[in-house]
Amino acid sequence: MREIGGGAFVLATALKAIVFFTLLMVCVALATYVERRLAAFVQDRSGPNRVGPIGLLQPVADGLKNLLKEETWPAAANHAFFLLAPALAMIPATVLFAVIPFGSPLPTRWGFVPMIVADVPIGILYILAIASLGVYGVVMAGWSSGSKYSFLGGLRGSAQMISYEVGLSLSLVPIILLAGDVRVPAMVTLQQHYPGDSATLGTWLLLPLLLGAFFVVVTSLAETNRLPFDLPEAEGELVGGYHTEYSSMKFAAFFLGEYAHLLTTAALITVFFLGGWDIPFWQGDNIRVLSDGTLAGDPSWWKTLLTLVAFSVKASLVLGLFMWIRWTLPRFRYDQLMDLGWKFILEFVTIYILVIALAVYTLDRSGVEYGWTYAGVLTGVNVVLAGLLFIGFDRGRLLRGAGQRAEREARRGHMEARRRVREAALAVVSGEGAAPEETGEVAPEGGR
């Protein structure tokens, strides 16, 4: 079976775009609801449960409220950019959705329809390029608001997103090393299990690239500006961050963009590390597009539906993980954030790429074919690296503020001075020595 072409292709693509965009928006609305409920559960509350059954219509009520609210234009705002910023925050997140494969190809009378809006040949590069566009919305919103808090939030956001983009891009390199391809559907095929086929790894990449998955999750949190990295909108310091001056639907656009970004990230992590739409322990969904454009496998509409469900479940789990992390961890300090990004993640991911490349090279040279042995060796390498990282290196040494070393030195001096003062005081009480004032000892400043 061949892929549909001509007018049917255009029609199918348009239809897919509309359906997936609608689905995305519905999921975004649901995600805001789930996030609030989950937050409530973590804090032993009930969360929104009034509008509709168990509060499911809350997003609708919120949307209606935002539509009907007054739109404010700050006097100092640059109107054109002020209006453009929310759109720029929302568009990249939604456009990213185009390259995510949701299910196995759907067979039709005119050929098969891949369940991906646009199977661009530069997949991962497209993702990285578009994801980095999201920073423009943040910067533009911060700058055009004409407010200092917004501006600070925008600056923080841009610095943070640019810093963590490096880490994110590098964490994805091992996947490209294994897949030998940057097309996104190739990632799914790589993780499917074809017995006796040496072209695929046969296991989800979560295992052979455990640390890579960890770094992708961490950097994705920073990329989507979520806790523990939500410094651009640190409400304790910046009122509301870059969207302080926004109201009504323009604010809602930022909100939607944020959640769309979150959903897209969850979907991408699903595709990269959780096998995409692959259903585990079942070979019936082994359907792939061969290099000559024909389809291998046995597609059917119910398989498409089933894989779609599998994908949604996996993406929801990743989303749940993100929310769970958000309601657990407190915010980083800004210097810690930058330290983590530049002084740790960048270095470690570079080393990680080298180690994985070395492992891949060694395995290839020693004639090991793709399969469970290959994946097992990589998993072993990852477990060793993870052990080194979390048990060996991370003992409070990974995260340390820029001024903390100096601070510790100061505190050491401070405690020394305190000890001397105390000894002198004891000496005075026992009537042996001079008063501490007379010794001229003064505790140095700078200690905590």
């Binding site: 032993d44 769970w324 991370d394 003992r395 409070g396 305190r418 105390r422």
Partner: protein, 165 residues
């Protein structure tokens, strides 16, 4: 004698951020799956009010439905915020009654002095607090309305029984 000064040090170089984070996530997970919720679903679930809670006024009535008020004028006198308006009148038997008796619940501070001072135990406060209205005028309760209210009477503080048992 000078006491020992305890110097607290941060657990630096000992803890792991990742492991601490995982531990924290365990705690949040425990709460997430815990069905116990502290939220009170207000309109459905309500507080159990104390018997001495001082809320909306109500007027005690005789068996024939007349108010027990004898228009002595003590309650408007004792009221610290002047929220009681009383115009006394006398009927054909020479008994005093309140021709106009209005309480502005908006102005009232629910001190309960009126209940304490009433010689015939006519005006009372009641154990009730949900009295939202759409207009300010509705907050001025006239005698008829006060007589119709039937929430439980607020128990007065009794020196012999300080905890109202």
């Amino acid at each position: 004698m000078p006491g020992e000064v305890k110097v607290m040090t941060r657990p630096e170089g000992k803890g792991s951020y990742v492991r601490a984070a995982l531990k924290g996530m365990g705690v949040t997970l425990k709460h997430m799956v815990d069905p116990h919720k502290v939220t009170q679903q207000y309109p459905e679930e309500k507080w159990e009010l104390a018997p001495r809670m001082r809320g909306t006024h109500r007027m005690a009535v005789h068996e024939d439905g007349r108010s027990k008020c004898v228009a002595c004028g003590l309650c408007p006198t004792v009221c610290p915020v002047n929220c009681i308006k009383l115009i006394p009148a006398e009927d054909e038997n020479g008994e005093r009654y309140a021709a106009v008796y209005e309480i502005d619940e908006f102005r009232c501070i629910f001190c309960g002095f009126c209940q304490e001072v009433c010689p015939v135990e006519a005006i009372h406060l009641s154990v009730h607090y949900e009295n939202a209205e759409y207009s300010r005028e509705r907050w001025v309760y006239d005698l008829e309305r006060l007589c119709e209210i039937d929430h439980p009477y607020t128990a007065l503080w009794d020196p012999a029984d300080p905890s109202s048992e």
